[in-house]
Amino acid sequence: MENIHILKFFADYIEAELGIIYVEANYFQLEHRLKDIAVQLGFTDLKALYHTASMGISGQMKSLLLDLATNNETSFFRDASIFKALSEFIVPDLIKNGDKSVINIWSAASSSGQEVYSIAMELDQARLTNFSIPLCRMLASDVSDTILKRAEAGMYSQLEVQRGLPSKLMLQYFDKGETDKWMVKPLLKNNITFRKINLLHYWGGIGLFDIVFCRNVLIYQSVENKIKIIKEIVNHLNPGGFLLLGAAESLFGLSHDFEQLVHGGAVFYRKK
């Protein structure tokens, strides 16, 4: 690989900004994506992109570099058992004392929005049989401007809208546009706020939450960064609040602030 020092430069930058580690075995993928960025920004080749980047990375280049590193592969109701646990165990657990008028939920790596809209759909469906579920306010955040704008727009291709979403819910919560785009209905967006947040940087006054979804984030991080992120989440969780991680992630060796719970095959954590 002739551009190895260039690839290392960008890999180091991405690791410093996002904590996401590109090992050399994945440099071919990084090279492919960087070449796309070079074309988008009007550079003749990767060396020209590097030449400019080495003098400082900002603006659109920074935005594109951060986009390329985040894995935005997602679907509605990804790991469906988590959403059942949310409506059947977690929310009832939070309201069992009867003094909760609002539940605050944070989708910390919301990607293109499928997770936060799945949460909203699950809770809306659960209200059909559980009338005690209070207002749920949601914050959806992501490190990428581009992907966050997509989440806020709530517009999905025909393939995207079919991923994980039963047809019945698709018809109930989405409108079909003139092209083959499906748009989230306003009622589902009512209580969702979108905000750019880098989990490795200062989170700035986002408040306290009862439930934090932080799925498929830790898996890309070093142990130090995992501990740092979890510690900050602990600080932003109400006592008895819940943390939900990705199916391949756990808190083992990272925190003693939670008890692990299981419901319907879903594993999640409650703050002690």
């Binding site: 025909q158 393939l159 079919q162 994980g164 019945k168 018809l171 079909k176």
Partner: protein
């Protein structure tokens, strides 16, 4: 899904049959293909419980999907049916869900979509 499934695919397109065969290989014990609604009714009328799932195309020669579905229900079919179609108007999808199809899949689709939808139907 632990048990491997027996699936009947009803579609006039050989390429759809081939693609479904490839997509469903991980979850199927067998996948049988017929090419229109007449063949589907003929295959099932004396053997209604032969399959775990039927994937039924909407637009076919001789007998289309909705007519086939109606006839099969009248014969007493209990097997879940997933409608497959390039029709993507909400009213078309709603019409078939109201008539009792278990799920509706729009073309084009990918392997992860079809596997996910089958998982929703079977579980």
């Amino acid at each position: 899904m632990t048990k491997k499934l027996k699936i009947l695919s009803v579609d006039d397109s050989k390429s759809i049959h081939a693609y479904l065969q490839q997509c469903l290989e991980p979850i199927t014990e067998k996948i049988e293909h017929v090419y229109n609604g007449v063949e589907a009714v003929e295959r099932l009328k004396n053997d209604l419980d032969a399959f775990d799932l039927i994937i039924l195309d909407w637009e076919m020669p001789l007998k289309d999907g909705p007519t086939t579905f109606k006839e099969l229900k009248e014969l007493g079919l209990k097997t879940p049916v997933m409608m497959l179609s390039s029709k993507s108007r909400p009213e078309d999808i709603m019409q078939m869900l109201e008539q009792g199809v278990a799920e509706y899949m729009m073309k084009p689709f990918t392997q992860d979509i079809v596997l996910d939808k089958i998982s929703q139907v079977i579980n």
